[in-house]
């Protein structure tokens, strides 16, 4: 199995909100990295997980599937998933795949935090 070309950093902004900064490629090979980041981001008091896509360099359709899987896990914990930092291209991808129906997209980190 090829190695994941992605790094993810988790920031717990406050007891109810965490941010996962994504740097690199999101494909099927990023699954372990993403789920580990989510496990770190999610605490008993976390209500909102925010994905920072400003470092995203590549995403294929398996990567979209991975985001869906994450969304399901988040919802099972009664949490919300938000996003910011999407380039115009990836914003279109979210619209094309209708991921934006369930993951609200914001223009900036501050806007996403304000909505959290």
């Amino acid at each position: 199995m090829p190695q994941a070309s992605v790094a993810m950093n988790t920031r717990r902004v406050n007891p109810t909100t965490s941010i996962i900064d994504i740097q690199g490629d999101v494909s099927a090979f990023a699954e372990q990295v993403l789920m580990s980041a989510y496990n770190e981001a999610s605490t008993p008091t976390t209500r909102t997980i925010i994905l920072n896509f400003s470092g995203l360099e590549y995403m294929n359709s398996s990567g979209i599937g991975l985001i869906v899987t994450l969304l399901i896990r988040v919802n099972r914990q009664k949490q919300r998933l938000l996003a910011f930092g999407l380039s115009e291209h990836y914003h279109h991808i979210f619209e094309l795949t209708r991921l934006n129906d369930a993951i609200k997209i914001y223009d900036s980190e501050s806007a996403a935090l304000a909505a959290a």
């Binding site: 199995m1 090829p2 099927a28 995203l56 360099e57 590549y58 995403m59 294929n60 359709s61 398996s62 979209i64 599937g65 869906v68 899987t69 969304l71 399901i72 380039s87 115009e88 291209h89 990836y90 279109h92 991808i93 619209e95 094309l96 795949t97 209708r98 991921l99 129906d101 369930a102």
Partner: protein, 153 residues
Amino acid sequence: MTTSPIPTNEQPDEQPRDAAFWSGQVSGLKVSNVPSGALNLNVDGKLVNGPLQGFGQMWQKTYRITLNGAPLSAKEVIRVWKEHFPDFWPAGNRFFGPLTGIAPGEVALLNLSMPGGIALSTGVLVLYADEESFTLMTPQGHVFAGLITFSTF
């Protein structure tokens, strides 16, 4: 149907590596050239549905096959899979692919034999296709709402 690349204000050299592999924006599916013998119903004008637009239990199923000793690279397997995709369908079910092959933005027709002798006509959008994978996305009216990805590594 072929959709145009996703419009962007980004300069060509700033486009991500995956830009060319995605379908363009689709406001409603359209089959331009209906292959001979295909029933074209329930496709034109339909929106695509991802797994989040469906109802009922959501499933994620992964099927893996190891091709031990196969003298083919991952890319060659996908190339053959794309070229002969209609040949791999079960008897009674037909996949009418676009003339240009499985490529981003293309729409294929499906004529399926359902239980009780009912024929279902629907289709799929080629959401994504590169040298090592391709993904189909279902339209409204399809048996399920979601994505199906064929990939190799």
